[in-house]
């Protein structure tokens, strides 16, 4: 009997332990959902530091309609399964607004829950077009879409009058999405795309691919994916004397690519959102980040900051904390934010989001290309 009793006690203990308390709503609670641990935690850090800063500054100025903002931080590890778990936890906590998630594959299942539960979500980092393509009322973003970035890159390539272009991607949602959009735009302009091929993310050996590119005699290579693989491709291409110019999306525009590719990173073309931290109007904000010992130059810091700010301004305009009314206000208004003027279309995408083509240098710096 003792044994069975202990089993019961254990079960009761476990169920009590995971029955998370729903606390009272004294303030406006904003959920921040992104990876704090796991392989992409470094991007998650950008998101959290941007959102925290916005909440701090808004509270310092007296909050929103007299109410203070309070952050509820959750860690989704960028895993779709964890994303659903933390989304439900945010529902528990009585949160009405969420800034997140980071990875598109987490944002997508989590947004199903938010939409169902009447929670407004603004993702500062997920670029998959699918997220806003489902007719949801409460889903917004403060970042451009893969389908916006692709054409920018492709148009720049077209202006360079390439003879033969190869488009490579890493067979992941982000990389393949952008690469497909680049290829389609190039083919519409009758550019000769001689190769469209996937690689395995996490692979190290690209010597066969490089040989293939050499054989195909390409003068431009577009790579959809992240910096670890492109860094290796650049380096191995240099080793094999492949004479082509490479181009990639913002996922490769990271100083880490220089540690891998070394000199071979010189001349790489990258499409990036304009460096918001270099804008005149943002200098006070940049200083505030630097005083905290944080780096505002990451691609998702100011987009997260903006997401929080938009929630606050939406609440002020709507004069209510009801997410549906705030969503309405966001769709109608246009807002002055650190990432520029923001106004939304019906789907919840920004009406314009600028991408700039940069040339990357061997010392990790970049210069804008016209």
């Amino acid at each position: 009997m003792i044994k069975n009793f202990s089993k019961l006690a254990l079960a009761a203990g476990v169920s009590a332990a995971i029955a998370l308390p729903a606390s009272a709503l004294a303030e406006i609670r904003i959920g921040i959902a992104g990876p704090q641990t796991g392989p992409v935690a470094q991007y998650g850090d950008m998101q959290f530091s941007g959102a925290r800063m916005a909440i701090e500054r808004i509270n310092a100025e007296g909050g929103v309609n007299g109410e203070m903002l309070e952050a509820v931080e959750v860690d989704d590890v960028c895993d779709p399964k964890q994303a659903v778990t933390v989304a439900n936890r945010l529902v528990n906590e009585g949160v009405s607004f969420v800034v997140g998630h980071l990875c598109s594959s987490s944002t997508q299942p989590a947004s199903d829950i938010y939409e169902d539960e009447g929670i407004l979500m603004i993702t500062p980092a997920s670029t998959s077009p699918e997220i806003t393509a489902r007719g949801y009322e409460l889903v917004f973003r403060t970042i451009g879409l893969d389908s916006m970035q692709g054409p920018v890159a492709a148009n720049h390539l077209i202006s360079l009058e390439p003879k033969r272009v190869a488009v490579i991607h890493d067979k992941q949602q982000y990389g393949e999405g952008i690469a497909t959009s680049v290829r389609d735009t190039l083919e519409e302009a009758d550019v000769n795309v001689v190769m469209f091929e996937g690689i395995t993310a996490g692979d190290k050996d690209f010597s066969s691919l490089v040989t293939k590119l050499k054989q195909a005699d390409v003068d431009y290579v577009y790579y959809g994916g992240y910096h670890p693989e492109l860094g290796l491709i650049l380096r191995q291409a240099r080793q094999a004397d492949l004479d082509a110019t490479f181009m990639g999306p913002e996922g490769v525009g990271n100083k880490d690519i220089n540690t891998i590719a070394g000199d071979a990173a010189e001349g790489l073309l990258v499409t990036l959102p304009p460096s918001f931290d270099e804008k005149e109007v943002n200098q006070a904000l940049v200083k505030a980040f630097e005083e905290k010992g944080e780096d505002p130059s990451g691609p998702f810091v100011l987009t997260s900051y903006t997401a929080v700010q938009l929630i606050a301004e939406g609440i002020e305009q709507a004069g209510s904390t009801d997410p549906f009314e705030v969503a309405e206000a966001l769709r109608e208004g246009s807002f002055e934010t650190p990432i520029g003027m923001v106004s939304y279309d019906e789907k919840g995408d920004m009406e314009s989001f600028e991408f700039v083509v940069y040339e990357w240098h061997a010392d990790g710096s970049k210069t804008a290309v016209n």
Binding site: I18, A19, D75, P80, K81, P109, R134, E176
Partner: protein
């Protein structure tokens, strides 16, 4: 003389400990700008390395004495020499306990928050998976490292059926499970004549191949974009969403005239998962006592003896493999429905490793142990977020330690224990 030898050995072990921990832990490669530099670790790490080396040194030096003490401790344990309860009494108590547990599980979700119920659904999915894998690994002794492939087959079957033909959860549930079982049968047929460790590698290969194919077959499976918009299960045509998504269905809250609450859906899904998990457990419990279950264990214990008694090796192994795959398909369908969105990244090797860790920690073959391990493995990282960083490290270490000290698991399978105590 012995002491001198011990001292030498202990010193050697301590040096080795330093060698394997100092460069990797003590010197961190950091990118500063575009250069890679070395940074020394913080003092805490240095102290930890030193303490570890010292501990190894002392342990090896006084190895005999320490092990002797540990042996004495074991005899102090009041549970150690406790006689096993009589068979009948134990079974009765066990069934009472299980019934109580199930009743508790049935009423519990109505009193706790949504997040907990959702987490509990995930636990139930893992219980189903672990019970299924337990048949393959624990009972039949076939190490399957690609179990997640069948899970993926179940999940993708439901997702694809609903996307292309609008088939509902209830129709897809048996189809998904049967298709997964069919996969098990087809894959199992050629590979099951391989020896244990080769089998492990081949199943690992199959798991990876299935994932890569799902990822590359973009036209059908959406490739890395996955499949979204997977419908929730319905209750006699009643939907749980705020708005009815499909023609001809009505919504649950309108039918009963109650206010909409998102919790209904979560609880309903939880109850479905609970029923399926109980079903899985009961079916496997029955099978274990049937001739086929005995045959699994016989083959695990001694293949040659079992074969000379006339058991068909392929037939018995194939049945275990297929049944395991069947329940993985079940779990996959529930998972797809809970997530509403699936992509190949949910079905990586790590997932197979976690399920295997659950089975190993719980005690291979033991149902109760596996259930408790599934609960522990899923909930602990949620309780302590700091722990989640170290989760896989601890799993790995636990798998090794379990194999070294207690290969029968935390809650070993009963029948085997009785057999041993009656003198074999």
């Amino acid at each position: 003389m012995v002491a001198a030898h011990n001292l030498k050995h202990a010193l050697f072990c301590a040096v080795i400990t330093l060698v394997i921990s100092w460069p990797i832990m003590g010197l961190k490669l950091e990118a500063v700008g575009t250069q890679i530099t070395l940074q020394g670790a913080d003092p805490f790490t240095w102290i930890a390395i030193g303490v570890a080396a010292l501990a190894v040194f002392l342990f090896q030096l006084f190895r005999e004495a320490i092990l002797g003490r540990l042996g004495m401790l074991k005899s102090l344990n009041p549970m150690a020499d406790r006689k096993p309860m009589p068979q009948e009494k134990r079974l009765k108590l066990e069934s009472i306990g299980l019934t109580l547990l199930i009743v508790l599980a049935l009423i519990w979700p109505f009193f706790v928050s949504r997040g907990s119920v959702d987490l509990a659904t995930l636990v139930l999915i893992y219980i189903m998976l672990a019970l299924g894998l337990n048949v393959v690994v624990g009972l039949a002794g076939l190490l399957d490292l690609g179990y997640v492939a069948f899970y993926a087959v179940g999940a993708y079957t439901f997702a694809l059926l609903s996307q292309y033909w609008g088939i509902s959860f209830w129709m897809a549930l048996p189809i998904g499970a049967l298709l997964a079982a069919l996969f098990g049968l087809v894959l199992g047929f050629p590979v099951l004549r391989l020896r244990g460790d080769y089998l492990a590698i081949v199943t690992l290969g199959f798991g990876e191949i299935i994932r890569i194919l799902l990822n590359n077959w973009t036209n059908v499976t959406g490739g890395p974009n996955g499949i979204g918009g997977i419908p929730d299960p319905t209750l006699f045509g009643m939907e749980f969403g705020r708005r009815v998504k499909e023609e001809g269905n009505v919504s649950f809250h309108e039918t009963f005239g109650i206010a909409y609450s998102g919790e209904h859906k979560v609880i309903f899904l939880y109850l479905i998962a609970l029923v399926l998990a109980v079903f899985t457990g009961l079916v496997i419990r029955r099978l274990m006592r049937m001739p086929v279950g005995r045959a699994w264990e016989a083959l695990r214990e001694d293949e040659i003896a079992a074969r000379s008694l006339g058991l068909s090796r392929t037939g018995v192994k194939l049945s275990a493999f297929t049944i395991g795959a069947f329940f993985a398909g079940f779990a996959g369908t529930v998972f797809a429905s809970k997530q509403g969105f699936i992509s190949p990244e949910s079905f990586v090797f790590l997932e197979s490793a976690i399920i295997l860790a659950i089975v190993v920690l719980g005690g291979m073959g033991s149902q109760m142990g596996v259930i408790l391990a599934a609960i522990a493995v899923t909930i602990l990282p949620e309780l302590a977020r700091e722990f989640s960083e170290y989760r896989m490290l601890i799993f790995g270490a636990a798998m090794v330690l379990m194999m070294v000290w207690r290969p029968q698991g935390l809650l070993p399978m009963r029948r085997r224990q009785i057999k041993l105590s009656t003198g074999e």
